[in-house]
Symmetry: C2
Subunit: 194 residues, 2 copies
DNA sequence: TTCTAAAATTGACCACGGTCAATTAACTTT
DNA sequence: AAAGTTAATTGACCGTGGTCAATTTTAGAA
């Protein structure tokens, strides 16, 4: 008793998503306008909002799917043995997340951030990212005094910090990789306090 | 030759800010509408935008000022000797930052985030926070293998992470203090890898 | 085939932030 | 004081996301 979804609905939704993807491919996430999606897809505005929880809802889907794709690939890689390896392996994801200011904003807004009851797509990818990285770490030569899960959470926190600074005019002398390396070295390889 | 500011301007601006503060005090940051500010202050809408860089610009000022007030007080405190002390000393700030979802969003959006050339008020408070905390740490019994500045940056990153999770429905079993304590203990007091 | 209830769609309408050419007020200069 | 110049203010207007009562389409029941 849980399948009252008409074909029409599926088709409309698919067309909307397809149209949105086209616009994003052509002009980027930040340039997407609901009006344009709706007109190009040939449906009324109200229909859009019947299918998605607003523009942000659509963005969550699109961006979440993209992040998931990166995580799919990341999952196939072996456990990094050095910090540079680790950075290399998460850079594609970070590159995407910072590809547009708008994208980063949407991600931040929805990262730990399901105001509603159920957890949103982007928040899910954050959880998943911690899982993936934490699995890597169980086979990596980094500090073992804390759990891989906590370690992975820290990597996420520092990644966000590095990405935020990336958008700050003042901090643009250093590359993001450099910043990340400094953070992660301090986090993953603490030297004993003398 | 750098004082062509008329009194009228100062007065208008002051009235606008005053009005905004009143609305915020009464209904919170998220409920502020430019229309209401403008009508209550008795000026035209265009005037508002002649004085501030949009609603976000005003919010940057108001929220930035509030954060600065917390940092003013924080600066008078002695260097924390334990992680619990440290948490106690930054909690007022964190409490304010998470007092409203809207406030946290504005802060994130402007934290490392001056899209323009000059650094915005909120981004400045982030820099200042690192300075304040880093000054504390020079007199604290935490790890010494990395600079106090880097240590402070990490505290900021973990604070943001803890705050983001605070707004996530899934992670609400733990209190923010608990989360922070776990993060900061791992960051500031790493045990030697065996 | 016809009727009916539920689901999907429509588009006029609203809220709200933001713009800008035109107007008014405030100062200089003569 | 009058004319000229710059700065401040105005408000009609726009872009864009979002709403919702009314309408159309669909799937089954009679």
């Amino acid at each position: 008793m849980l399948k009252p979804i008409q074909n029409r609905t599926r088709a409309t939704r698919a067309r909307l998503i397809e149209t949105a993807q086209g616009i994003i491919a052509a002009k980027g996430y930040g340039a997407l306008r609901v009006e344009e999606v709706v007109q190009t897809a040939g449906v009324a505005k109200g229909t859009f909002f019947a299918h998605f929880a607003g523009k942000d809802g659509l963005m969550e889907l699109m961006i979440g799917a993209q992040i998931d794709a990166f995580l799919d690939e990341a999952e196939t890689w072996p456990a990094p043995q050095t910090i540079d390896d680790l950075i290399t392996q998460i850079m594609p994801l970070i590159q995407f997340m910072t590809s547009e200011r708008y994208v980063f904003d949407v991600i931040l807004r929805h990262s730990g951030a399901a105001a509603r009851e159920e957890i949103g797509p982007i928040a899910q990818t954050f959880t998943r990212q911690v899982d993936v990285v934490s699995r890597w770490l169980s086979d990596s030569p980094f500090r073992k005094d804390i759990s891989g899960y906590l370690l992975a959470e820290g990597i996420q926190a520092f990644s966000v910090q590095a990405m935020a600074l990336h958008f700050c005019a003042v901090n643009n002398s250093e590359t993001m990789e450099d910043r990340l390396r400094i953070y992660l070295d301090a986090w993953l390889n603490p030297r004993l306090a003398s």
